[in-house]
Amino acid sequence: MRAYLDAIAAGYPTVSPALVYLIGMLAFGALVVFVFILPVAGITSWVERRVWARIQSRIGPNRVGPGGFLQWLADGLKNLLKEDVIPAAVDVPLFRIAPYVVVAGFVAAFVALPFAGSLIIADLNIGILYISAITSLVVIGILMAGWSSNNKWSMLGGIRSATQIICYEIPVGLSIFPVVLLSGTLSMQGIISAQGWAPTSWHMFHSPFLFVSFLLFFVGALAEGNRTPFDLPEADSELVAGFATEYSGMRSLLFFLAEWGNLYVIGVLVSTLFMGGWQVPHFTDNGVVLAVAQFATMFVKAYFWVFVAMWVRATLPRVRVDQFMTLCWKYMVPIGLVNVVGTATMMVVLPQGSIVLRWIMVAMTAAILVQFARRVFFHLRRANYGRLGRISEGAA
């Protein structure tokens, strides 16, 4: 990236190189946003609706494009054309800015997200720390939205969200520490490089502590992303639509964009920290082919977690505020502390890790997954809907 900009700057000796950098970075940023982030967030909305529909024995959007695939474009267009209603008693500047702050917070996280071995906008040496820092913009945006709407439901939503994100920052942070301890770096590419393509070399299966860390991280990330069972800020049956109650049109859509986009961020973080990120076997020397394979690996892993988050959302009820806090402070934080100490102890006792332990961990996880799949299929066989059709039409 830098070399490329240097070359451009050399072509225009009269222009300050700093200006070229600035314009170049802005253009590149805009490109990433439009070519990758917006479509991923939009398509995630369509996927989520289809996945839910499947789980809820509905059909879901199926009119626009093949399988309703273009629904997200249609919705975006519709919302762009809608009137931007600003209620009378709101704090107008804050009300207008809030959605942009939220979107900025989540888009900025993409700066340090790895896509493939050579594809990352900036491999910061504080990568993971940067991401947890910049996403705090989202909280501020949500609080702004909640307060400026001049609506008590909005405010309750904003306050819930702020509480939630601040509190769960701690278990999430604690579950990142063991990974950082193992990798010896905060850089995202560094963390991935410390793992390999095989599951036995993933951080997740290093020791039981890391596996628990992984669970803590996923649960905490769901909470920070305001996803069910922790979707209290926008709990539609309690707070109408939480902080987004007074928003309409594109501004309202921006909040959802950030939510769906955040899902992908969560997926990438989980696969980077615990599942070897873009690591693939070195099967070819062709750099482009390798990069494509790495990108695909990363995307599949990340999207698997996106799917799990959707699945969880369609399955679980919502916890109450006090239960939510209890879970965080009485369970997740102590467990996280134990994990940090445990991992550090492991690293002193077994500096190279134990390949036997890794294999046992992988085998146990596989066994749990197989058992789970068997239960799912058992229930699917037992479920007898779909065979009946419209009773009143069938012959007796």
Binding site: E238, V240, P317, A383, R387, L388
Partner: protein, 382 residues
Amino acid sequence: MSLELEFADGRDVFATEDMVLNMGPQHPSTHGVLRFIIRADGEVMRSAKADVGYLHRSIEKIAEKVGWHGFMPYTDRVDYVAAMTTNQAWAMAAEVLGGVTVPRRGEYCRVIAAELGRICSHLLAAGAMGMDIGAITPFTHAVRERELINDLLEELCGARLTFNYMRIGGVAWDLPPGFGAKVLRFLDHFEPYVDELDDLLSGNKIYIERLANVAVVSRERAIAYNLVGPNLRASGVKYDIRKHLPYSVYPEFDFEVPIGEGRHGSVGDCWDRYIVRLHEMRQSARILRQAIDGLPEGPVIAKVPRNYKPAAGEVHVHVETPRGDQSWYVVADGTEYPYRVHIRTGSFAAMAMIEELSRGLMIADLVALIASFDIVAPEVDR
């Protein structure tokens, strides 16, 4: 050290105020047009005052002007989630006043229709319960099953929500050919489904945490507040009008009255109210099977004059609707119009209790409480 800080207008800086929240009339989880005025300290409610009357349509007054037969369609609107039982209550009141005896086949038709309606209503209640707690999937599954019943009832009387099926002296139409077999086929499908809903929702850890020990109604308070139906039975009182003040042909059927057992908390919590409804669906299925098996032959409606004029007098009938004992107090003065009609409904009693129960609950619990009482707004206001 004393710290006396005041605002310029003399208010104490450290004084706190309650937040007054307006939940409704348009709110996603108030099940119709209900309104609660919540005084809350943060998320904890000091009180939730119900403000009723948004759905008042003067149904009782209308009865005094439309006549005995003409009032039947209006009864559908008293509780549009379970219109069959309201139909039945009005028909029964008029029959008692006029001394009309319903043919046995007519009574069986009524029971079949009413029990299908009960399953319908309980499905909606259980699904909406999950929805209000935040689980979106059980609702669509429950509504899918409800759709099958709606199809059956559509075949029976042409309507899917406001049935207008019963008449003074019986029912409007006999069961269509093959209807019994279809109901049995539906039940074969439905009974395993109740178990499935049970698996899907009842044992969920978060679901139990949200409902167990929330808004516990003790046996004594339930009786003192005159709770009825599933809400009363969840508090451990075995009282079902179908068993204890029998009407129609219910004494001929063998069924049980499920009561709350406090499996995950105290007897009479939200979870008990939910599970009682689930068990009642199974019992309704049992009644339906027996009714289809024992369906007698004969007419479905007695000879009732078009110009129906019951003798002067008054009557108080009780019917077990999905929301409990619905009692109709009807006064006749010997003309073709009722003199006075008063309906006392289950939701009304439950609504009255919410203010007491809401103290110290969180806002999220209020949603669970409303859902667990299965309040249907039109039934409160009429």
